[in-house]
Amino acid sequence: MDSSPHKETLATRLELVSDSAKLIASAESAAAAVGLAAADRQRLLDNALETSRAVRDLANALSEPDDEEELYRVIAALWLQLRFEWQRHNDVMNYAAVVNSPLPAVAAEGCIGSALLEQLESLLLPEHLAAMSGYAIDLLKVIGRGQCESIDTPPLALVS
């Protein structure tokens, strides 16, 4: 990773991602798009604020230059966590659609998740994103009662 003193640190860039104004704007937009009731809208905004706070806490806790390698890995894990969450929302929405019982609050959560994932992806190398996605998918194939397929993925070196 580039350690030029004039380049923004990873922690600084993560702090920008945690910008609550942007997340709140995403939440408001998502709430309006799916027509959330007032209580659900407020819950969505509160969740967005909490997420913003958690990301900011991470950036502040691992803000030293020596922390950057570990911070990168934790950001990778955060991305994977949010990716799983997004998939869960997607699965729930798909099932709800099949039984004609839509869940707009879940759809709105999915929109915010997508927005945050996109921002976190800007902090991670594309090959690492691809490797993590592949690992996670293959892991769940083994965990579930599906087939164990041949896996052909590169080593996961999170910091080059």
């Binding site: 806490d57 799983f84 769940l140 965990i143 579930g144 087939q147 996961l156």
Partner: protein
């Protein structure tokens, strides 16, 4: 291990499905999590964060268990496993933030500390419905991802006993 997992898969999944639905509807998960914080003099803003967290996780479990109507299907078990991984990463992150702040400042970031405890509570609630070997594999994956141990997933899967893998 395969024998253990498939001894009564339908009954186990039905048990998980039923219990999760009941817990989501009754508030049991919230009660379990708050019970772990008995004795902590939590400031109101921190308590509010935990209450919001409990509500969010309960709603998530309710949605999962109510929309997936067929608990015998593989999808439910995999969804549960994926949720466990999601929580594992969350717990690890809160724990790490809490530890870093403790080392840096000598103080305790109560928010991260209790959120780590809360996510741990949900993890415990779910993991009793997962095969122990599956949990071990997922636990290693999560720990190694953050711990930075370089490996290939193929190498780890190669080490899994053949009777575990279909």
């Amino acid at each position: 291990m395969r024998e253990h997992r498939h001894a009564a898969p339908g009954a186990r999944l039905m048990s998980a499905y039923t219990r999760l639905r009941a817990a989501a509807a009754s508030g049991q998960l919230r009660a379990d999590i708050l019970a772990t914080m008995d004795g902590l003099d939590l400031p109101e803003p921190v308590r509010a964060r935990i209450e919001a967290y409990c509500e969010r996780r309960t709603a998530g479990l309710m949605n999962l268990s109510e929309t997936i109507k067929s608990p015998d299907e593989d999808d439910f078990y995999r969804s549960l496993a994926a949720l466990w991984l999601e929580l594992r990463f969350e717990w690890q992150r809160h724990n790490l933030v809490s530890n870093y702040i403790a080392v840096r400042t000598g103080g305790c970031d109560l928010g991260s500390f209790v959120l780590a405890a809360a996510s741990s509570g949900v993890l415990r609630f779910i993991e009793e419905h997962l095969d122990p070997t599956d949990r071990e594999i997922m636990d290693e994956f999560a720990a190694e991802l953050i711990g930075g141990t370089h490996h290939t997933l193929r190498a780890r899967l190669d080490s899994v006993p053949n009777d575990h893998v279909e």
